[in-house]
């Protein structure tokens, strides 16, 4: 992820105000340029008019004096004109004679009488052509006409510092005003857009914060003023309900799976119960028949006790498998004995060779919760038994490497189908059809923070479940 997210990645609630602000800035620039342009034209016109009036007025007054080369008169007129002129606009006015020598100037120290006036004409323009150039001092030159002939020239330096300052002031105010307006409008735009898009934000939040379980948006938060958005949110709510219902159905299905697995065992288990029952009934009959023979009664009673104990073990294992209040109980070696008890009839019914090996110590086993691990192992054994078929082989090996508990269930027989593997190893949506046992294994192992590994080699399918040691709470 980059430090500065790309513009298109920004939320729409940020992007729209940014676009608004950008448009405002462009608008402000265009408006400012237009205002400054108009101001510049006004100032140029004012300047040009000032220069023209000044030069024309002087030309009228100066004509005869320049013709007579009367230095004092020329100076006197310039000096009076300077004093009469408003402010300090006219910095210097130089009047030159026909030969281009200074006749007089408002500041004779800068332009001494008799000096060459050419240097004062550098950069000078005609009064009507004078324009603001950014230079605080502008020069205007005009020939001095008298009675139809040119008798000299006038150069005037105009001080436009105030006009420049005015322009600067206007620029600053425009900048400040536009910046303020832009900020206000961008903020307003953001508020408006944020308000308009609040339902979208709520939608995104509802989808994000639910951690995979979409949460419906309350009816009050649906913007009924915006039909499009309202429809979108209503659709979303319907979708969340559907997802919830599906999750609920899956949950119910998973709960049922435990009974399903028992259901699959029931015939074998019934057989297991039925077998000792014949012996038990025989023993009961023997006792009744030979009630007076204590040795026979004792022998039969012992036989009955063994049969009943077996029945008790089988029913306890079944009860334990289904008791919900065992949740949170630590795993014990006896749990695997129970599993064996539950699975052995199934194995016998198919003449499956069972390789049962529990190596893990009680301490490592105790770090795992009993119910989920039993469910995982039973589901895998049932699956392995089904896959192994008649005369197959099924193996269970429980071992520990450090704190980690490994349960390996292997079987001969056909390999797992692609669909079954997906159920077991992936968390994607379940394809239609098929049971949920393998998916339940996957979900439980994920919930315990463990991992599932599948391997198929030499005609054997090997499923390994690695479970990390849980917290001390389970110890």
């Amino acid at each position: 992820m980059t430090a500065v997210p790309r513009f298109r990645n920004l939320p729409v609630t940020v992007r729209v105000p940014l676009i608004t602000a950008a448009l405002m800035i462009i608008l402000a620039l265009v408006a400012s340029q237009s205002v400054l342009g108009a101001l510049g034209r006004v100032q140029d016109a004012r300047l040009s008019e000032t220069a023209r009036l000044h030069v024309e007025g002087l030309a009228v007054a100066l004509g005869p004096s320049v013709l007579r080369q009367d230095v004092w008169e020329v100076y006197d007129i310039l000096d009076r004109a300077r004093q009469a002129s408003d402010g300090q606009r006219l910095l210097l006015t130089v009047v030159a004679d026909e030969r281009g020598h200074v006749l007089a100037a408002t500041d004779p120290r800068r332009a001494p009488v008799g000096e060459d006036a050419a240097e004062f004409g550098l950069g000078a323009v005609a009064p009507e052509a004078v324009r603001m150039t950014g230079d605080p001092v502008l020069r205007v030159a005009s020939p001095l006409l008298y009675q139809g002939r040119t008798i000299g020239g006038i150069v005037t330096e105009l001080d436009v510092t105030d006009l420049l300052a005015e322009r600067r002031q206007v620029t600053l105010w425009l900048l400040f005003g536009n910046a303020l307006a832009t900020v206000l409008l961008a903020f307003g735009g953001w508020l408006a857009v944020a308000r308009i898009l609040r339902p979208v934000g709520a939608l995104v939040q509802a989808m994000d914060s639910s951690g995979g379980a979409p949460r419906p948006i309350p009816q009050a938060a649906i913007p009924h003023g915006d039909p499009g958005l309202a429809r979108l949110i209503v659709t979303y709510n319907q979708m969340t309900t559907a997802v919830e219902e599906r999750a609920e159905a899956e949950r119910r299905l998973a709960d049922r799976e435990r009974f399903v697995s028992l259901g699959r065992l029931s015939s074998a288990l019934a057989h297991e119960v039925n077998n000792p029952l014949g012996g038990l009934l025989n023993a009961a009959d023997t006792i009744r028949t030979y009630a007076d023979r204590p040795d026979v009664v004792r022998q039969s009673a012992e036989l009955m006790q063994r049969g009943l104990a077996h029945l008790r073990d089988v029913t306890r294992a079944m009860l334990d498998q289904n008791r919900l209040d065992r949740a949170g109980q630590p795993l014990r070696p006896e749990d695997f004995e129970d599993l064996r008890l539950l699975f052995e009839p199934e194995a016998h019914s198919r003449n499956i060779a069972l390789a049962w090996e529990v190596q893990a110590g009680a301490t490592v086993l105790a770090s795992q919760p009993a119910a989920p691990v039993r469910q995982v192992a039973l589901n895998l054994l049932l699956n392995a038994g089904a896959a192994a078929g008649q005369n197959g082989q099924v193996g269970l090996k429980v071992s520990n490497g450090g704190d980690q508990l490994s349960i390996v269930v292997s079987n001969t027989g056909s390999a797992m189908s692609e669909a079954d593997l997906r159920r077991l190893l992936a968390s994607g949506p379940l394809p239609p059809g098929g049971g949920v046992g393998l998916r339940l294994v996957h979900d439980i192992v994920s919930g315990l923070g463990g991992t599932l590994h599948h391997d198929r080699a030499e005609g054997r399918t090997v499923i390994r479940v690695d479970l990390p040691a849980m917290g001390s709470g389970h110890a």
Binding site: P64, D107, V113
Partner: protein, 338 residues
């Protein structure tokens, strides 16, 4: 008393017109009396652009002038007699309309007749007008008076700081290091008028003493036709130095210290006869001229006259002796002799 209705206007040529209607009380009839006072600008309107001419009129001093004219108007008698024409030169206190108006008022009041104050640009014009009779009397300079001593007679001479004397000042810009006339060689110089004693003759004769002429000694010499203009030319840097009437410089130093502060006096001449009031000798016996002489010499006795003297920073006008101008005559001799 009569009822007054007044009006003031500026003509396109820059002349100021003042209209005063006076209803003279009488039992049966009311006579509207129209007094028209014309102020003729010494600087003809053709010499400046219209805008500048108007600016001149629209000064604070013009307002005072107008006010003074209103006060004067009821005094004017409609006798059909030609106004007494009195000439002034801007060489003195250029533009000081308040002084000019007060002077007209005071003279008019003392002489009992309308006064037309005539201002010309140069002493030469004033002298010419005086000699050809187009003006009756004039306040001029000792130098033109001496130039036409045979045709002109003295009506009186002002007393300034206790004596009818003044000096010519040589001035430079405040930051100039020059200390004497000799240091000014090669620079531009401002004179006031070729017929001015303090504004030309003194410096020209000083140069003549060392065998120099203004044109040769200075790089450029200009005539500004006004002592105040000389101060402006030097203060503004148009010329390096200037020859100015010491009295004018001192008065300016009081009323426009900002202007004189930009100049520095580097030398002062000896005391010379103050610019006198003169009239043509052949008309000295005329009623108007004698009335004028009496009015001038009596300025210190009348309220309005005292006002004029106060505005001019003068003490009085006293009868003059031609010998007062001997100093100027000496310099004239030096200049022509040189």
């Amino acid at each position: 008393m009569g009822q007054h209705r007044k009006g003031v206007g500026i003509r396109r040529d820059g002349q100021l017109w003042i209209l005063c209607r006076q209803r003279i009380s009488s039992n049966s009839d009311l006579t509207d009396h129209l007094a028209r006072i014309k102020v003729t600008s010494a600087k003809g309107s053709d010499r400046y652009g219209p805008k500048i001419a108007e600016d001149e009129v629209h000064t604070r001093r013009s307002a005072i002038l107008a006010g003074a004219a209103f006060c004067a108007a009821p005094m004017v008698r409609a006798q059909g007699a030609a106004p007494f024409r009195f000439a002034l030169t801007p060489v003195f206190l250029d533009n000081d309309a308040a002084v000019i108006a007060a002077l007209r008022t005071a003279l008019g009041e003392a002489m009992g007749r309308e006064i037309e104050l005539v201002q010309r640009r140069t002493y030469q014009e004033i002298t010419g007008a005086l000699l050809d009779g187009s003006v009756d009397a004039a306040w001029t300079c000792g130098y033109p008076y001496l130039q036409h001593r045979d045709q002109l007679s003295l009506l009186g001479v002002p007393v300034w700081r206790g004596a009818p004397l003044y000096q010519s000042y040589l001035i430079v810009a405040a930051g100039d290091a020059a200390t004497s006339l000799a240091d000014l060689q090669g620079g531009a110089h401002a004179f006031s008028d070729p017929d001015s004693n303090s504004g030309y003759l003194v410096t020209a004769s000083d140069l003549a003493r060392i065998g120099a002429t203004p044109d040769g000694f200075f790089s450029r010499s200009i005539f500004t036709y006004g002592h105040r203009n000389v101060v402006r030319a030097v203060a503004g840097g148009l010329t390096r130095s200037g020859s100015v009437d010491g009295y004018v410089w001192e008065v300016l130093n009081s009323v426009e210290p900002g202007l004189t502060a930009r100049t520095r006096v580097i030398s002062r001449s000896e005391d010379l006869g103050f610019p006198p009031f003169v009239a043509r000798s052949d008309r000295i016996e005329e009623v108007g001229i004698t009335a004028c002489m009496a009015a001038l010499q009596g300025l210190g006795k009348a309220d309005r006259g005292q006002e004029v003297l106060r505005l001019l920073f003068l003490d009085a006008v006293v009868p003059a002796d031609p010998a007062l101008f001997n100093g100027i005559a000496t310099r004239m001799a030096e200049l022509s002799g040189g």
